[in-house]
Symmetry: C2
Subunit: 105 residues, 2 copies
């Protein structure tokens, strides 16, 4: 996915600028499927991904308002991540990938 | 996208194993939009992609039966690439990415 200071004219390219990095669509799939998740849950779900990489992907998803942090325990303080409404709106993209995979792989 | 000797159970992951690499979806978009293309056309369309990378992506797409080579001139011999029927069946995936991008970016 090209990164430039210009915003791509093509809406497909603009979408891939947000969700085209390795792991990102699989992370979004897990939030869609499982609901809110802790960092630890994601580490267990993606043992092949480096923790730094997972952490960066979560930061990027948060910066693009696709997921948000939620404090689910005050004492001790504990965080988890969940889809925003904008993140939830990616469901048709995941559905199209799933349907193609079911029929063609 | 995880690469392993096991085939992923999840159809989304299986799909991303085929089309999740950087540039691949944008290449497929161009074949959908423009029809058969020469390597030179793709180099011009993606100046930020290294020729080796483009070449590898085309090889991968061909290996997965998503595009195929076509001889369009015998003297001198000239090749171009075009979508297979299987590659054309990815249209709903591109449509979902486009629609989301139009509405959300």
């Amino acid at each position: 996915v090209p990164r430039s200071y210009e915003i791509p004219v093509c809406p497909i390219a603009r979408t891939l600028d947000l969700i085209g990095e390795r792991w990102t669509l699989l992370l979004l799939r897990d939030f869609h499927r499982k609901g809110p998740l802790r960092f630890q849950d994601l580490q267990e779900a993606f043992p092949a991904a480096a923790p730094n990489t997972l952490s960066q992907r979560l930061k990027d998803l948060e910066a693009h308002d696709l997921i948000e942090r939620e404090v689910y325990s005050e004492h001790p303080p504990r965080l988890r991540y969940r889809l925003t409404r904008r993140g939830a709106s990616l469901k048709p993209v995941l559905a199209a990938l799933r349907e193609w995979g079911e029929q063609n792989t």
